[in-house]
Amino acid sequence: MSATEMVSWVLAIVKTVFDTVTEAIKGPEPPSLAELQAKVKAAIDARSTDWIKEAKADADKALVEAAAVEFSAAPKDEIKKP
């Protein structure tokens, strides 16, 4: 093996180690700019305060249902009209 071949082998090994270490330090590739923009914009577009109104409406229904269940647990359902 000539000296030139040895040097090229050593350089190849160094390059491999360099690339491996670089990738290890960098970690996984983060998403592209376009992907991130789409992700954040989608998250913003999906935002709405309607979810609070919907949750409140569901709670209002639950209140009435709970009251009815509590009432029906009585021996006499409807005792008298006021």
Binding site: I25, Q37, A74
Partner: protein
């Protein structure tokens, strides 16, 4: 041989520095990370709010039903507004409505503030992405790295504020029902 080892060490250090000092890459990673955790917090906020409201509603419903029953009212009155009723059922439902509104307002008000804080995080992430877009297009003058790092830090801080607000609110809501 010693020189070769030194050269290898130098290359490895260079690789490390290069990898760690790419501000655009770091910013993209941070935007991705903060977006994901912000989305998780948003989902958590919605779930917690809904559960807290349902707890309050069920507790108040049971109380209303029991009081109406004890007063000899009709079962259907539990679902009617107090304005449509006559005493004593009217007073019972009116008091129930008032208690319910106070308790739900104590949940919804702070939840809206946390939701707004989450929205502010998304807005700050968009600003970071705008800067990154300019950088990619070669429109940013020198020194953009510092500005970018500041914007990323601001987005991370805003997320921290949102989480703090959410945690404080969640602790309060835990004792509401």
């Amino acid at each position: 041989m010693r020189n070769l080892i030194l050269a290898c060490l130098f290359l490895l250090c260079s690789a490390g520095l290069l990898a760690c000092s790419d501000p655009a890459r770091i910013a993209r990673r941070e935007v991705d990370r903060v977006t994901r955790i912000n989305q998780r917090t948003e989902v958590n906020l919605k779930r917690t709010t809904r559960a807290a409201l349902l707890d309050v509603a069920k507790a108040e419903g049971q109380r209303r039903g029991a009081e109406l029953k004890a007063a000899g009212c009709l079962s259907t009155m539990a679902s009617q507004p107090s304005t449509a009723l006559e005493e004593p059922c009217k007073g019972i439902v009116a008091a129930s409505e008032k208690r319910y509104e106070v308790k739900t307002a104590a949940i919804i008000g702070p939840a809206k503030k946390v939701d707004a804080a989450i929205g502010a995080v998304y807005a700050s992430l968009l600003v970071v992405l705008d800067v990154l877009e300019d950088v990619a297009a070669g429109l940013k003058p020198g020194g953009w790295q510092v500005k970018l790092a500041q914007l990323v830090a601001e987005a991370v801080k805003l997320y921290g504020d949102a989480v703090t607000a959410f945690t404080a609110w969640k602790a309060t809501v835990g004792g509401t029902p």
